[in-house]
């Protein structure tokens, strides 16, 4: 295939298909199957390896996700921060550490799912597809950190504008076509994951509790007439 067409497919068509699938299917699932929104915790079935896998994975992935979001939303401040080499090193090393933490946690999660009979019973095909996608994604992310350093800077300067161009409905892929293959893989897989998102357990991300910290301690519901 003409590389130009391929690029257009991967970096324009795929992102839109994924984002629309994400949006429509998430809304549809929430409206039709809100019962199915759950973290589907497996701590009850296996309580020992659970801590050593779920916890590092989540702290790692949350830090990494938030990092990507910041670089996407406020690229200028990242560039300003990185203008000082020492600060750049600190950021790069912490990002790599979080990536490794995620990787270790994720491998642990997969081993736990594969080896504990009880947990295997509550693991669906979608779970395995998702775990594989996440694994490739995290490995490629760590690979990028190792082989294409200073990602925090070039993400902010090159990828952030590309992502913005997608959201502004005026896609400009000149930023990405010049990227190394590993980075391209990471981008494509990211969009695939977003498209697959509503069909997986990842929907728990959308229902993370927020009213807890400021609601009243006790919850009372009245039938018919409001609370007196």
């Amino acid at each position: 295939m003409n590389p130009h067409v391929l690029d257009q497919f991967l970096f324009i068509a795929l992102p839109y298909v994924s984002l629309f699938t994400f949006l429509l299917m998430t809304i549809y699932r929430y409206r039709q199957q809100s019962f199915s929104f759950s973290s589907l915790s497996s701590q009850f079935l296996e309580n020992k390896q659970h801590f050593w896998t779920v916890v590092p994975f989540h702290y790692g992935i949350l830090a990494v996700t938030v990092g990507h979001l910041i670089a996407f939303l406020i690229p200028r401040s990242i560039l300003a921060w990185n203008s000082h080499p020492l600060r750049l090193y600190v950021l790069e090393v912490s990002a790599l550490a979080c990536g490794l933490l995620t990787l270790i946690g994720l491998i642990g999660l997969m081993l736990r799912r594969g080896t504990t009979t009880r947990i295997r019973k509550v693991t669906s095909l979608n779970d395995w597809i998702l775990f594989t996608m996440l694994l490739i994604q995290v490995v490629s992310g760590v690979g990028i950190a190792l082989f294409h350093p200073w990602g925090s800077s070039w993400f902010a300067s090159n990828l952030s504008p590309y992502l913005w161009s997608i959201f502004k409905l005026n896609p400009d892929i000149s930023y990405v076509t010049a990227m190394p293959h590993l980075v391209k893989l990471h981008i494509v897989l990211a969009f695939l994951t977003i498209g697959f998102f509503p069909f997986t357990r990842l929907v728990h991300l959308l229902v993370i509790p927020n009213p807890y910290l400021w609601r009243k301690t006790q919850v009372v519901r009245w039938y018919g007439h409001p609370q007196k």
């Binding site: 019962f35 759950s38 589907l40 701590q43 309580n47 069909f199 728990h204 006790q218 919850v219 007439h225």
Partner: protein
Amino acid sequence: MQVRSQVSMVFHLDKCIGCHTCSVACKNVWTDRKGAEYMWWNNVETKPGTGYPTKWEDQEKYQGGFETNGDGKLHIKSTSKTKVVPNIFHHPNMPSMDDYYEPWTYDYQNLFNAPEGSDQPTAEPISMIDGEKIDVQSGPNWDDDLGGSPIYAENDPNLEGLTEQQRLQLSSVERLVFFYLPRICNHCLNPCCVASCPSGALYKRGEDGIVLIDQKKCRAWRSCVSACPYKKTYFNWFTGKSEKCILCFPRLETGQAPACFHSCVGRIRYLGVLLYDAEKMEEVAKLPDDELVEGQRSMILDPFDPEVIAEAKKNGISDGVIEAAQDSPVYQFVMKWKIALPPHIEYRTLPMLFYVPPMSPVQASKPEDTITHNSDNLFHDIDDSRVPMKFLANLFGAGHEGPVRYALAKQKAVRWHRRAETVGDIDRETADRMLREANCTREEAEEIYKLTALCTFEDRFVIPPMHREQAIEMMKEPHEHREEVGFGFVGGPRRGL
């Protein structure tokens, strides 16, 4: 004063025969489903024993309930607001399936399908989780009737504070002693499960105080499982939702007693409305341990007091509910006679299920004292009871013997009063002295006797009218409503992908 009504319960432990009919009734109606096999919303434990899940009363281990730590506030022990973020990924004190038991069935097919051989085919136990053969190690009532006492009974957390001699006495050969403790959710006034839920999925129904989990809002953060000190919220490992006793609200709404109440063979269960002052809740829940039993009683209002009735009406409580509160058997046991006590009120959730502590066996611990009635202390057999008072106090008095002794003494006085009346082997004078010392009158003794021994279905269950239809009428056209609602979810409660 903020008057609310609460459907409350009394279990009369002296009458429980440990038949587990209640548990089976509940299982058949509500938890005979995938993911819920291990759940016993109603379970019956042998005491002393470690219970279900094992050692649920050991809050060092499970961190259930509330604590007050000096700053004048109540804190959820397991997941206070500061701990919610780290705990959401992994709850350090959550019981796992091994703390309950792994449910199993038997490979009955093998009885039909086994190839011809020299042995009879057997139906081997297989796990209901993974379908593999299982070496059964424990079950929901593994220590029933003191089975395996050295591992179970001797590790009962309520033995704390008992002398070595008292412990030995509980398990001495030929004088073993135990009683049964049927347990359901207490539908607490200050439910720790509700307070702990990060999603706000648990709630207390305003009209009747039943505590429920909104299955559509539960996201499997599992905080309630850790927080409930009675371990009465359960995690459904298949649907990824927590579940708990619903006090058979669909039955209550149609005027029927909950399944476990209805089926109770020993007729130990009573259900009725209590009116209480919701404003006092926080203050009471923070009282020191020895004031909690009295404190909880001080929240419960007299349904005959005109001022209470006026306030109740102002708060939208219907006349029918107020009448039900006036007829409530629970009010009699808890407030009038004060012989029913809350379990482990030191967990500070203010449970609304009360237990009449068991007297049996009447025989005292010292053999030579058992038949002599001429001791000066008419209640010597209670003080020397084979179930040490301290043990009952740990269960029903937050460690304090006062309220427990009061309840037992009154029960004994009632028995002796009835013996003086019908058998005649006790003289009237002694019986009257006993009643006096137990703070009871002849009339009261008769009432206690009637509601304990001669009670009918209608005496035991005074179910308030729930008036769902009126609530609906207020909001919309009833026919329209009928067309809009049905049972269950559109699309069914499917496990997430």
